[in-house]
Symmetry: C2
Subunit: 300 residues, 2 copies
Amino acid sequence: MNIYPDCFPCFFRQTRIALDQSGIADEEQIGILKEVAEIIIKADLSGSPAHVTTFIHRMIREVAGKDPFRDIKSEYNRKALSLYDDLKKTIKESGDPLLTAGRLAIAGNIIDFGIFRSVDMEGTIGKAMGSDIAVDDYRLLLDDMRNAGEILYLLDNAGEIVFDRLFIEELRKSGAGVTAVVKGSPTINDATIDDAIQTGLDKVCRVIDNGSDAVGTILKWCSEDFVRKFSGAALIVSKGQANFETLLAVVDRPLYFLFQAKCNVVARFLGLEKGSMIFSRVDTFAPKSREVESPGRITR
Amino acid sequence: MNIYPDCFPCFFRQTRIALDQSGIADEEQIGILKEVAEIIIKADLSGSPAHVTTFIHRMIREVAGKDPFRDIKSEYNRKALSLYDDLKKTIKESGDPLLTAGRLAIAGNIIDFGIFRSVDMEGTIGKAMGSDIAVDDYRLLLDDMRNAGEILYLLDNAGEIVFDRLFIEELRKSGAGVTAVVKGSPTINDATIDDAIQTGLDKVCRVIDNGSDAVGTILKWCSEDFVRKFSGAALIVSKGQANFETLLAVVDRPLYFLFQAKCNVVARFLGLEKGSMIFSRVDTFAPKSREVESPGRITR
């Protein structure tokens, strides 16, 4: 997915969130925001928004001399873990545990400190359980799972991975093998191996990293090892907006996007309301919506 | 007033509004937004936000090959004129016609297409008549008017100047002479001499221009003629946020700021809620708040 004009104010808004998170004073932030302007000028703007934010967040970590999101990631892992038992019960008692766990995995995608300053986790869970999935390819996933024994599951954020753990537990009950993928090193509040360990995900399935600090999954920046696994995967589940932005071109095999359309640009690209829940196979959007603006509401 | 970190996303948001107003397609906007990044890099960021937006809007007019706000300015002059008779009646029937007209002049400051995409004129009038003025130096103005026979009245936006006309009519009734000042040439939706003529302001008082296309009043970029008049003025009324940003340093004589705090940065600088109505003499803010963040709520 390309960069749209509304991404520009957002590049600076995201920077503000990360700088505030780093505890950097307003006066110092001015020079860093100027560096963001320089990154934008040098960047190849024909890529995805995630390409640019990768460079921005690298620069911020360097200037801050630390990972600004380390503490908040750990805090949200704990907060989400405290909901684990209740959510497990909700899933167990529901008519379709796998679908319910999938819904919750989409709900957990709200824990995104790239875009938000604060997160209403409980409110989003309630909404996710009560409202329609705007693009719903769940039935297709069931078919694809029958053909592919193994799922490569691309995680998104810390905290959110507790919800992913619940979904992965159900996927495994349905007979699928799952390998979960974290980032190679910190970027925004994306999950790394530390978060997988903190949330016990490593006890539920195999967890590997993609060797990269990129926002989303930018294959040319990932490790050879991961690219080999990605290329060989028969079925991929991809969480979050940034993975959607960066993997829309992968149309040679079943790849499912599970996320919330959290910004106007992505919502408009999809022709959906902001906040919509997406459970979509990649070919639902391709080639119709590929880099075409406002393709209209997508229905099957 | 200095540039704050939250001005950076706003520079790009403002550009988007102006480009959409120009009818420039999204794909073309990307390159122009990149030029905004270049302006920010080259700009002296120790100035006011209005310094930077002056360069941005100059560039936009050049790229668009026209004044993007020409039609909307004319439309809002007409819309505001259609309210003239009712507002005149409201003023006449009020307990303090001069104060009521002043309130309405502040209400009219909502017509700002630098910041907003759409404007609720009637709603703002209702609010302005019903709510407190957050910083209210109206009584001081009455005193200062007794000492100074002539007011230099710095206008802000088209449409808004109909509200200014009503206030100026009351100021003149109170015995003050008024010279109103428009911009030398178009910038955002600021009033120029064409707007003064369209709204009949030129029939009510003397109207001069400041020889500049700057956002706000940046004296070094104004005509010698205007600077002479400004320097000699015993009493100045200044409308709008940009004039506030650029004239806070003028503390050698009574200068009144009438505006709404329309953005978070200015509201935070003032220690007031966003949307607050300001009717303030310059020394209310000086030196206490000069470039000091969040000076706390200001009371007299």
